[in-house]
C-alpha cells in the first residue's frame, strides 16, 4: 500500500479538526475537534511505524500512549466545561468570552 494514502487522510482530518476547534460555539464540540486532530496524529504515527517496520514498534506504542493521553485530556476538559457551565450557565465560547 502506498504510504501517501494514510498521510493525506491524516492531513485532511487535521484540517477539519482545525476548522472545528475554531468555528464551533459549543465548548464540548471544540473538545471534539481536538480529539479529531489527535486522531489524525495517531494515524500518522501508525503509518510511519508500518512503513519503517520498526523493531521496537515505536509508532504504535506511541499511538497507545497518545490514546491514553487523549482520554485523560477529554476527561479533564469535560470536567472544566462542566465547572464553567455551573459558573456561568452557558458553554457558548462567544458568550463566555464576553
Amino acid at each position: 500500500m502506498s504510504l501517501l494514502y494514510p498521510l493525506l487522510l491524516s492531513s485532511a482530518l487535521f484540517g477539519i479538526g482545525v476548522y472545528g476547534v475554531l468555528a464551533r460555539r459549543n465548548a464540548v464540540l471544540v473538545l471534539l475537534g481536538v480529539e479529531l486532530m489527535l486522531n489524525s496524529v495517531t494515524l500518522n504515527l501508525v503509518a510511519f511505524d508500518a512503513w519503517f517496520a520498526d523493531a521496537l514498534h515505536t509508532g504504535q506504542v506511541l499511538t497507545l500512549f497518545t490514546i491514553a493521553l487523549a482520554a485523560a485530556e477529554i476527561g479533564l476538559g469535560l470536567a472544566i466545561v462542566l465547572a464553567l457551565f455551573r459558573a456561568v450557565r452557558t458553554v457558548d465560547v462567544d458568550e463566555v468570552g464576553r
Binding site: 500500500m1 494514502y5 487522510l9 485532511a12 477539519i16 512503513w51 520498526d54 521496537l56 490514546i67
Partner: protein
C-alpha cells in the same frame, strides 16, 4: 491500485465525510455520533496498515468511552429554550485556516514521501505490541499510569460542587 488500497480509499472517504458532518452538524448529538463513524473508519485504516492491536484499542477507548463521555457532557450542559447558531462568526476564517493546514501538510507529505510503500513486514499483533510495551517501553508506560491517576484526581476535584471546597 490493489485491493487494500481500494478499501483504504473507501474508508478514507467515509472518515473525511463523517468528520465534515461531525464538525458542521447543527444537531449536537448527531455531531458526536458522526465522530463515532470517523473514529471507526480510522480504526479500519489501522487494520489495513497492519496495526490490529491499535485498531482494537481505538475502538475500545475512543468509540467506547470518549464518545460516551462527550454525549454525557452534551446532555448535562444542555441549555433550555435558547437556539443559537452552532458556529461562531469567524467560521470563514476558520475554514480558510483549516484548508491552509490541510493543503500545507498534504503538500509536505507529497513532497517528502511520494512513491514510498508500506510493505507490512512487521504486523502489530497484541503479542508483538505487548512485548514491546513491557520490555522496551515499560518506564514510559508506568509514568503514563501516573498521568492518568493525576487526571482522574483532577477531574474529581474540578467536578465537586463548590460548597464544600
Amino acid at each position: 491500485m490493489n485491493g487494500t488500497e481500494v478499501v483504504f480509499v473507501v474508508l478514507s472517504l467515509l472518515a473525511v465525510g463523517s468528520a465534515v458532518l461531525a464538525m458542521t452538524s447543527p444537531q449536537l448529538v448527531h455531531a458526536a455520533l458522526w465522530l463515532v463513524v470517523t473514529l471507526g473508519a480510522v480504526a479500519g485504516c489501522f487494520v489495513l496498515m497492519t496495526a490490529e492491536f491499535v485498531a482494537w484499542v481505538q475502538v475500545l477507548v475512543y468509540v467506547g468511552s470518549v464518545v460516551v463521555l462527550v454525549i454525557f457532557a452534551l446532555m448535562l450542559t444542555r441549555q433550555s429554550g435558547r437556539t443559537t447558531a452552532e458556529v461562531t462568526g469567524n467560521r470563514w476564517t476558520a475554514a480558510v485556516l483549516g484548508l491552509v493546514a490541510a493543503v500545507g501538510l498534504g503538500a509536505t507529505m507529497v513532497a517528502g514521501f511520494a512513491g514510498e510503500r508500506i510493505e507490512g513486514r512487521r504486523i502489530g499483533t497484541a503479542a508483538s505490541i505487548g512485548e514491546a510495551l513491557f520490555t522496551d517501553w515499560v518506564l514510559p508506560f508506568e509514568i503514563l499510569s501516573g498521568v492518568l491517576l493525576a487526571a482522574l484526581v483532577g477531574a474529581i476535584v474540578l467536578s465537586r460542587s463548590g460548597s464544600d471546597r
